[in-house]
């Protein structure tokens, strides 16, 4: 075959065909890019948000549920001419707003394309109904239903927490689990139980056309995935009690924590001021005003604030003294309006009879008595130095759950602070600090910091006569079994026998009656046998904090409560009535008529301006 002009052309034809086929082979077989582009072009995954788990209280009442809300979406490219005024009337909005939005879409039409964008979020029920009736008049507008959180009880935003759209940082921390636009539990219980509550997203795969209109299910829906609803969470919270606590704490700064002593279950956990549940479902819109509030409503004081425990801590020192054998219940110490811990320096006390025995010292909260107790503990000849004795003391204190995180299932728990010998060595120099240096520790002041949760845990330990379960807010339920550590008993280093010796003093503090000198007589509820201890924590920044711990009944206690009210004066004045009202509410279900006045006083007491 010669290479004449015919064959030259046939050759050229062959080359042309080969080049075309080579190019086709390259884009079809060698280069995978076009396949993924095609998938991106034509397939849309429509995600089905799983219903988020419901949060129940201990008796099966819904604390956090779900409810429908309606968003109005608009697809700007599909909007035809419509009556702006009519739409404004239907939606309860202004013409100016609609005109402004439409201008915005027009200016950004290239970027928006055929997408649907939110026009109004969380449309009210009435506008929604009106819109659905008149939808035909407004082409390009449509509604979309989604669920938002619903709060039947005002159980406190800090406890329940809220959900919010995932942030890029959160997505980076949980790769592959969230997509932009998903919601996640940001604070409180919602955050603590995110893994259980959120469920698993499902999706439909659809094919869409070039105008983003869904055409048909891909592969007859065989590759679709159903959404798995979130698990329900049963909390240990008693909803009426929690709500009652919120009511008592309104207008005050502070917290109440109530624990069921035998199980460590938290019955109520009130932090005030708090985010009102009415704004929780759309917290984003109120975020600015919430964060501007000087009362810091985002801040959960029950676990995140560390305060000096004040006089309630005397019981811990007393127990250590008893255990160490340096204190007997019959020891009497004098108190001349205070305790002179060094020449010219007096740690003051209030007026009460003197000298006092152990029971009376608890009942009347004598400062001097417990200075003697701690002095005896720290200057115990059993220990070769003050430093060793102090370390032993610290170990006792730590066994009560102070100075470390309790390990509650609540997020962002702080550990408080119990100083170490090394700390004082650093501050004063080795051998340069003695008992008078740290005398404040006797009465729960000084370098001690404890969270209201830890103080409540102390009440639970006293109720149990020596042990505690880690306080927690989630119970075992059908869907969820909690960490077994919450069922373990943690014993303190003080024997149960010694605990029995502090109970009479605590009982008398509440029940000794007016005129006895007892500090907590306002908390007396006949028949409930409340045992308690007041505390008045000195506060260098203002009025004293009012502290009270109690449990009831005296034998086989059902509830232990700690109330910590900032700047509310003496423990007996505010914290004691609040805590005992909680006890009464929980045990009796109602408040005795003779205490109604006290209840009203507490509810209306305003200590803050917000």
């Amino acid at each position: 075959m010669t290479l004449d002009r015919k064959n030259k052309f046939l050759l050229a034809l062959g080359v042309i065909i080969a080049v075309l086929l080579g190019r086709i082979f390259h884009i079809q077989v060698m280069d995978g890019r076009y396949k993924s582009d095609a998938v991106r072009n034509a397939m849309v995954r429509q995600y089905i948000a799983p219903p988020r788990g419901i949060i129940y209280d201990r008796n099966g009442a819904i604390l956090v549920g779900n409810k429908m809300c309606y968003d109005l979406l608009v697809t700007p490219k599909e909007v035809g001419p419509f009556d702006t005024l009519a739409l404004a009337e239907v939606l309860d909005t202004s013409v100016a707003f609609i005109v402004e939005r439409m201008h915005y879409y027009k200016a950004n039409i290239r970027r928006i394309g055929w997408q649907s964008v939110p026009f109004i979020k969380q449309l009210g029920e009435a506008p929604y109904q009106r819109f659905v009736e008149e939808q035909y008049r407004f082409p390009g507008f449509k509604t979309e239903t989604r669920t938002i959180r619903d709060y039947p009880f005002n159980a406190g935003g800090n406890l329940l927490g809220y959900i919010s759209e995932v942030s890029p940082e959160y997505m980076a921390k949980h790769p592959g689990e969230y997509k932009s636009g998903d919601y996640y539990g940001k604070t409180g219980l919602e955050a603590a139980r995110e893994q259980d509550l959120r469920g698993e997203k499902g999706y439909h795969i659809y094919l869409r056309d070039s105008r983003n209109r869904v055409q048909t299910a891909y592969n007859d829906g065989k590759d679709d995935k159903l959404a798995v609803p979130g698990k329900d969470v049963v909390t240990t919270i008693d909803a009426p009690l929690q709500q009652y606590g919120q009511l008592l704490m309104q207008g005050k700064k502070g917290s109440i924590v109530a624990i069921e002593p035998a199980t460590g279950e938290i019955l109520a956990m009130v932090s005030s001021p708090c985010i009102d549940v009415s704004v929780l479902s759309d917290v984003g819109r109120h975020y600015a005003e919430i964060s501007r509030n000087p009362g810091k409503p985002m801040f959960n004081r029950t676990v995140m604030a560390s305060y000096p425990p004040g006089s309630v801590f005397k019981i811990v020192n007393g127990l250590i003294g008893l255990q160490e054998g340096v204190l007997k219940p019959y020891y009497h110490y004098p108190c001349a309006k205070g305790y002179q811990y060094s020449t010219g320096h007096i740690l003051g006390c209030h007026s009460h009879p003197s000298p006092l025995g152990f029971d009376e010292a608890i009942m009347m909260s004598c400062n001097a008595y417990f200075c003697h107790v701690l002095k005896n503990v720290l200057e115990n000849p059993r220990y070769d130095s003050l430093s060793t004795a102090f370390t032993a003391w610290r170990q006792y204190v730590m066994s009560f759950g102070f100075g470390q995180r309790l390990g509650s299932d609540f997020p962002a728990e702080l550990g408080g602070n119990i100083p170490t010998a090394a700390f004082y060595n650093r501050r004063y120099g080795r051998g340069h600090w003695r008992f008078p240096t740290i005398v404040s520790l006797s009465i729960g002041q000084g370098e001690i910091g404890a969270t209201p949760l830890q103080i409540a845990n102390l009440a639970a330990i006293l109720a149990n006569r020596g042990w505690y379960c880690i306080p927690h807010i989630v119970k075992d339920s059908e869907d969820i079994s909690i960490d077994p550590k919450y069922h373990e008993r943690h014993y303190t280093l003080v024997d149960t026998l010694e605990f029995r010796k502090v109970i009479p003093g605590m009982w008398r503090a509440v029940n000794a009656g007016y005129g006895s000198g007892a500090t907590a007589v306002r908390g007396c509820v006949p028949g409930l046998d409340i045992c308690g201890k007041t505390g008045t924590a000195q506060n260098p920044h203002g009025d004293d904090h009012s502290v009270f711990i109690c449990f009831a009944p005296r034998d086989n206690p059902k509830i232990a409560v700690a109330a910590y009210v900032e700047n509310a004066g003496a423990g007996g004045a505010t914290a004691c009535p609040i805590a005992t009202l909680m006890v009464e509410k929980y045990l009796n279900g109602s408040i005795r008529p003779d205490r109604k006045g006290l209840e009203q006083d507490m509810i209306h007491k305003r200590l803050t301006r917000y």
Binding site: R5, K6, F9, L10, L13, G14, I16, I17, V19, L20, L21, R23, I24, F25, I27, Q28, V29, D31, R33, Y34, K35, D37, A38, V39, N41, A42, M43, R110, L207, R208, D209, S210, R211, Q215, T216
Partner: protein
């Protein structure tokens, strides 16, 4: 008529051409159906849709093909070539003033609901006249007069079509270089055209020294292998002068490229060239068609997604999918295997026409056959090349497969005239 049948149809008609014609037409039809098939399935024969209309056109084309093959004396084509050429020329001019504007060009006549493009018929009449003129005794390309005549026959309709703003159809006329080349036009013409295209592309897309290097290399090779061996001194000097002039012309061309590109071309033409050369990334503008077309073809893989299962095809991501971009549907739903089959069918059709034409003892049949082959090749190269991003987007059809009666009927006529001419010859020899 009876006479023509008695020698046996099997021996006289090149049935392989008819069969490949039929296969391509049917493949095109099925893929048009697939392209418009979306969520609501309709019958492939439903006249409300393009697949149904195409079926109608296929029936008409088949009837026309049979008439051309069996009822018309092939001598007629040679006889009417001159008047037909003139009539079509008049139509081409008339359409500029009387036609309806369609997508920016004035090339369509609309009569009722039917519209047609004179430019399509002009390919046939030009082929016929070219074949008639060049097959006359004594036609030699060595005569400048003959070269001018051939250039005029091809160039006149081409020029008018450019004026109709149908640049794509005009480019197809480059296919007429094939019969001219076959009949003795110097290969240097092809070389210069190839060089011009190469210089144009290189000037736009490569560093500035590259086109000059190309000219220098071509000049050097020419001087070394053509001019140096010439012994005759005066002849050698003349060749030297010519080659230097050609090189200077090339250099001028490089300098004028930017002027041509920026001032003579329309915006959309410039954008399309820039997209194919990779100078511009404009996936939502000028590059949209090509990008979507390449996605559709590229997502087909080795064996495709299956008939009616192409997602890009079904949901309108590729514009003009039934007409200019019909090859996307084949690429997406039938994959590389389908593309291979279709391209081999075209190669067979064109190659067979060339072989048949070359064997012909009649100049008219031979030249006409080469015209047909050249036109088909240009259409194939430009259309398929554009769908895979090798050639700028030029709105011309894929012969026999694209939707549309105008294109289908004119290509059918073009091919069946050749089959008839070839059969005529078989009857005698």
């Amino acid at each position: 008529m009876t006479q023509s049948l008695d020698r046996g149809l099997r021996k006289t008609v090149d049935w392989s051409l008819v069969v490949s014609w039929l296969l391509l037409v049917l493949i095109g039809w099925v893929n048009i159906y697939a392209s418009i098939q979306s969520s609501e399935p309709a019958s492939i024969f439903d006249l409300h849709f393009r697949s149904g209309m195409q079926f109608l056109w296929i029936c008409v084309a088949l009837a026309m093909g049979m008439v051309v093959l069996f009822a018309v004396n092939p001598r007629l084509w040679e006889v009417i070539s001159s008047p037909a050429y003139l009539v079509v020329l008049v139509l081409l001019v008339a359409v500029i003033f009387l036609g309806t504007e369609h997508k920016g060009s004035n090339s369509w006549f609309s009569i009722g609901s039917v519209s047609f493009q004179p430019a399509e018929i002009s390919k046939i009449t030009t082929s016929l006249l070219l074949a008639m003129v060049m097959s006359q005794a004594g036609f030699r390309f060595s005569l400048r007069r003959n070269r001018l005549r051939a250039a005029l026959i091809v160039g006149l309709p081409m020029l008018i079509i450019v004026l109709e703003r149908e640049t794509g159809s005009a480019l197809v006329y480059a296919g007429f270089l094939l019969p001219l080349y076959r009949e003795g036009l110097s290969g240097w013409y092809l070389f210069f055209i190839g060089m011009a295209i190469a210089l144009f592309v290189l000037t736009l897309a490569s560093p500035p020294w590259v086109p000059f290097a190309l000219i220098a290399a071509a000049l050097l090779l020419y001087l070394l292998f053509y001019v140096r061996p010439i012994r005759h001194l005066r002849l050698r000097r003349r060749y030297l002068m010519r080659s230097l002039l050609a090189a200077i012309a090339g250099i001028l061309m490089v300098f004028s490229t930017n002027v041509v590109f920026h001032y003579l071309l329309r915006d959309y033409q410039r954008n399309r060239i820039e997209v194919v050369l990779g100078l511009k990334d404009d996936p939502s503008g000028a590059g949209y068609n090509v990008r979507q077309s390449m996605i559709a073809i590229g997502s087909g893989g080795l064996f495709g997604k299956g008939f009616l299962h192409g997602t890009q095809t079904a949901y309108g991501f590729v514009p003009e999918q039934t007409t200019d971009f019909i090859f996307c549907t084949i690429g997406e739903e039938w994959g590389f295997a389908g593309c291979l089959l279709v391209l081999l069918l075209y190669a067979f059709l064109i190659g067979r026409i060339i072989v048949d034409a070359d064997e012909s003892r009649e100049g008219f049949t031979r030249i006409y056959g080469y015209c047909v082959a050249g036109l088909l090749t240009m259409h194939l190269l430009i259309n398929v090349g554009m769908t895979v991003g090798l050639v700028p987007v030029i709105g011309i059809t894929l012969p026999l497969m694209s939707y549309g009666g105008s294109s289908l009927l004119s290509f059918t006529l073009l091919i069946f005239i050749f089959i008839a001419l070839h059969r005529q010859e078989n009857k005698y020899f």
